[in-house]
């Protein structure tokens, strides 16, 4: 599907960033060969490693899509973190408030609550953009910081788990847990949801009228407006969709992984999601592949920190360098 010639710059970029980071790792006195073997192969050595990779793949794919979908319309959503957190709060609230509901009702409701809460959080910057023309980069980022306070309120309020040392709520009802795909090592069905979202985004942007209008808006807003597309409404739609996708990732984290609301559940998924989206150059269909690659690196990075004592941030620098080299390869080709 993807021609080999389009993959070559990516491979060069990856090799170049590994080489650059390798020099640094060697200079710090670590064993480069073992470090890279750990980073690249931990995911494939054991079933557990592979499942861990898939568990990272889910939120990373969704966070990246929450960035690339608005990017298709020419808008930068840096607020996936806040939308994920608010989605997680919504999901946890439903899971805690309605414990007597049966599993076939509660699971969909928990997920739906997360999606709606995230969409609502995405609606705020969308409205500010629509009504006041405020730059969405700033509002989405600032709302992340507001959401940090919100999750703290939710986790230390009436639902607080007094037994936990860290701000955490009591668990949601067991009938709100996402069903398991595999029991051991545990893999929840959020994976299917993530794959469905990837498919839905692809179909929406390539096979529907409003999806086409969205992409046309991003390609050339002026021309899109001339052809009767309500460009500003497209901005709103794209940001609300992003919020819904990020909210879903929050709901999956609650219903599939933590089974409760925990402060810090958003991890560093936002920044990794942005890196994935930018490496994929905003191509929604390329996102899951890049996300899988980054998930492999992330799982390898934790293993490397455990066994070789090399800080995980080293791999984060590698990821940022991959992005920079991928971007540079565009410049080289332009010449």
């Amino acid at each position: 599907m993807m021609p080999v010639r389009r993959i070559i710059p990516y491979l060069i970029a990856i090799a170049a960033s590994f080489a650059a980071a390798g020099i640094f790792i060697a200079a710090m006195g670590f064993d480069v060969g073992r470090a890279y073997a750990t980073i690249l192969f931990t995911s494939f050595r054991t079933p557990n490693g592979f499942v861990q990779t898939l568990l990272k793949f889910i939120p990373l794919t969704l966070q990246a899509l929450a960035f690339t979908v608005p990017l298709s319309a020419g808008k930068f959503n840096i607020g996936g973190e806040g939308q994920m957190i608010v989605g997680a709060i919504g999901a946890a609230a439903v899971g805690i408030l309605f414990p007597e509901l049966p599993i076939y009702l509660l699971v969909p409701l928990v997920i739906l609550a997360g999606v709606l809460a995230g969409a609502l959080w995405g609606l705020i910057p969308a409205w500010l953009l629509y009504r006041f023309n405020i730059n969405e980069i700033l509002t989405t980022v600032l709302l992340n910081f507001v959401s940090f306070a919100l999750i703290d309120i939710a986790a230390t309020g009436p639902w607080r788990d007094p037994a936990a040392g860290h701000p955490t709520t009591i668990p949601i009802s067991a009938s709100g847990y996402l069903p398991m795909l595999i029991r051991e090592p545990p893999l929840h069905s959020g994976l299917i949801l993530a794959v469905l979202v990837v498919a839905a985004v692809y179909i929406f942007t390539s096979r529907t009228v409003s999806g086409y209008e969205l992409v046309a808006t991003g390609a050339n807003p002026g021309a899109a407006a001339v052809f009767g597309i309500n460009v500003r409404r497209m901005f709103v739609l794209s940001l609300v969709m992003a919020g819904a996708i990020a909210g879903l990732s929050g709901a999956i984290e609650v219903a599939g992984v933590q089974h409760r609301l925990i402060v810090g559940l958003q991890s560093n998924f936002l920044v990794l999601g942005l890196i994935i989206g930018l490496i994929a150059k905003g191509n929604n269909l390329a996102v899951p592949f890049v996300a899988f690659f980054i998930a492999v690196l992330e799982v390898g990075a934790s293993a490397m920190q455990r066994t070789l004592m090399i800080p995980v941030e080293m791999v984060f620098i590698v990821e940022a360098l991959v992005l920079l080299f991928v971007l540079l390869s565009d410049v080289v080709r332009r010449r």
């Binding site: 710090m28 930068f76 840096i78 500010l128 006041f132 023309n133 405020i134 730059n135 980069i137 700033l138 509002t139 980022v141 600032l142 709302l143 992340n144 910081f145 507001v146 940090f148 306070a149 919100l150 703290d152 309120i153 230390t156 920044v271 942005l274 890196i275 930018l278 800080p311 941030e313 080293m314 984060f316 620098i317 990821e319 940022a320 360098l321 992005l323 920079l324 971007l327 540079l328 565009d330 410049v331």
Partner: protein, 309 residues
């Protein structure tokens, strides 16, 4: 009376990171280079500034290191956008990631994980002789650390430079209409590089202020959005040095207020106060954003080989 003096003194003390990062953003933007990596550059500035101070025992050396680190970020931004003409937002985000990663990686590599945080002495207040003894105004304005004075002088200096010197006029013209500036013999490339590097240095120094004045140590994510707020401040100040200086008083005021109320009363859960700076900023943007005057060429790259902009 005393508590008012104290309160106003604290606001001036807390305005410094906003002033430095805001002016750094402004000066780059005035040539069209829109930096969005503030948060990452400030984190790196805080991290490197702290580490160098810790290892050398000298705060000025730490500040110098933060200036250099910020300058390197500015240079990278200038090279990738002005020379290679890559998208400024995308490059800004990439630099933000690198800064974010470096800020936590460096302390782990240099110091390692310790049980008690390593500390550096915070920088001293330098009362200015005679005028620091003027009642009310003296203790607020003239009994502060050197960076408070520096940030005020810098703002005035930038104002004078931009509006009362020929080079300043030329610099502004690059951000408004680089083609016209180019045709009049202004070296647009040098202007953009210089402004981006100086801007990066100021943003790096803004980061170093946090461990050197507030905490005495570096903690992960200690910038807490101040870099992003500085972008909002720059828009709020209309990309003008003096309004940015006064606008930073508002940002600092909200920060100090949130902190003060937290200490004084427990009636309001502290989390609501944590939200205050961000919510207040969004509210202010709702009022001011439409009227904000922005350099016409902000965020774009100039290609002199092209016939039209």
């Amino acid at each position: 009376m005393d508590s008012t003096v104290d309160f106003l003194r604290l606001i001036l003390l807390s305005m410094v990171p906003f002033v430095l990062a805001g002016q750094g953003t402004m000066i780059g933007g005035r040539t069209g280079v829109f930096n969005v990596a503030q948060e990452g550059i400030m984190l790196t500035g805080a991290s490197i500034g702290f580490l160098v101070s810790y290892l050398s025992g000298s705060n000025p050396l730490g500040m110098l290191a933060a200036l250099v680190a910020g300058g390197i970020f500015g240079l990278l931004l200038a090279y990738l956008t002005t020379s290679l003409r890559m998208d400024q937002f995308v490059i800004g985000l990439a630099l933000f990631f690198i800064g974010l990663g470096l800020s936590t990686l460096l302390p782990k590599l240099v110091i390692g994980v310790t049980l008690t945080p390593p500390l550096i002495p915070t920088i001293q207040d330098v009362p200015i002789p005679l005028i620091s003894r003027i009642p009310f105004v003296g203790p607020i304005l003239f009994n502060q650390n050197v960076l408070v004075y520096f940030s005020i002088l810098l703002s005035v200096g930038f104002w004078y430079f931009l509006y009362h010197t020929k080079t300043g006029l030329e610099l502004r013209s690059v951000g408004e209409n680089p083609m016209a500036a180019d045709s009049l013999g202004v070296n647009t490339v040098v202007m953009r590089y210089a402004a981006a590097i100086i801007g990066g240095m100021l943003i790096g120094l803004a980061g170093a202020y946090l461990p050197m004045v507030y905490t005495g140590t570096f903690t992960e994510g200690m910038v807490k959005g101040r870099g992003w707020l500085a972008i909002a401040l720059t828009f709020f100040g209309g990309w003008n040095p003096m309004p940015i200086l006064f606008g930073s008083l508002f940002f600092a005021g909200v920060e100090v207020l949130a902190y003060r109320v937290q200490v004084i009363s427990s009636a309001l859960p502290y989390q609501y106060l944590l939200m205050l700076p961000y919510v207040a900023t969004i509210l202010v943007m709702m009022v001011t954003f439409r009227k904000a005057r922005v350099p016409a060429f902000l965020g774009q790259n100039y290609d002199r080989e092209k016939r039209a902009l």
